[in-house]
Symmetry: C2
Subunit: 236 residues, 2 copies
Amino acid sequence: MATTVQASTFGLRNVKILQGLSQERLEILAAQCAWRTVEPGKVIVARNSHDRDVHFVVSGRVRVTSFSAGGRQVTFRDEEAGEMFGDLAAIDGEPRSADVLALDGVLVASLSPEHFRALIAAEDLVRERVLQRLAALVRLLSERVIELSTLGVQNRIHAELLRLARAAGATGARARIDPAPKHADIASQVSTYREQVTRELSLLTKQGLLAKDGNALVLLDVPKLERMVEEVRSEA
Amino acid sequence: MATTVQASTFGLRNVKILQGLSQERLEILAAQCAWRTVEPGKVIVARNSHDRDVHFVVSGRVRVTSFSAGGRQVTFRDEEAGEMFGDLAAIDGEPRSADVLALDGVLVASLSPEHFRALIAAEDLVRERVLQRLAALVRLLSERVIELSTLGVQNRIHAELLRLARAAGATGARARIDPAPKHADIASQVSTYREQVTRELSLLTKQGLLAKDGNALVLLDVPKLERMVEEVRSEA
């Protein structure tokens, strides 16, 4: 499942939260980390477990999600290479709040909570970024609570398509999401069933707002989709 | 609406995040803060506004909530005397993520983002508590996203009653919530309409699980209510 690999300051140089640290500090951190590769689909952190390491995604992508006892999945977000996860448990010592899965082959460098706390205490830059990161998570989750509380499923699907388009760097009236997101992934992002996503995307296609283009999904009229979401928001 | 009152280290001594600080530091902070009283029902912080002060609740209670353009309310939490709010904007400089209302007469001490950042940099204790507080908020909001995504309205109302009972310090099979929560408050906590809360509480009363006792609401069989929530969670 996991292969131990050799420590490398090179890998840590791409971790956002560590940027600007001295070569000396990175060498110390690289030696303090446990390094391993994780195969696609494997669990790196399991919800409710008691390990408290902080993990840096050196390469690959991970999904922060939550499987209920009955198997229903609620996805929080995907983290790219350069990101960190697992800091909550290192900060407060509580069990894991979510499951984290490898989306592809992932190289992960894991730091003990003691070393992480020492790092925060010693490096103002890192402390500042950890605060910013937690503040951003609170904002993201607050928005999601508001969306789940005030928007219907259709509109949450529209909002998610717009978010994916923005994440793909789209700025104009048309937006290309390449590769097209899986219906099941959209469903677990907006808390509904895959079948409902499939139904809604068909409807948007019939309305001339959506098209498939090879492996990509194309939003044909971003401003109209934005208006549809805004109208419902302002009525809620 | 707001009356300016005199600075007082006495008031800051009860603020949790500042506990353990020296008399000297508290005196400096008390002088740096703007002090004012806010009448019940008035807005202290408005969602999307650009002020960035951190606020300490010296006395009274506030509600962290969000009003949509159409007037629908989503409540995040209530904060008692001794708590802090408004730290997100001070940390990341972004607009306010929520509305904060005075629930009763509130004495609030407000610190500029610059003074707040200097405080975090100088005092390890405070920095640690800010990190813990943000981590706790991320956990609370993640749980709420999972609840909204996997539980139906009935079960969210049951889960909220159990949460209120725990907050009131209940540990046995019976729990007394005094004063009884307003139906509209429960509704905005679990993202539904007041009418649905009224309907569900009537049903629980008929089932012998709930009773009114003067101003209080009494849960008559906490273990049974817990099992009802757990069963649905494990099937989700």
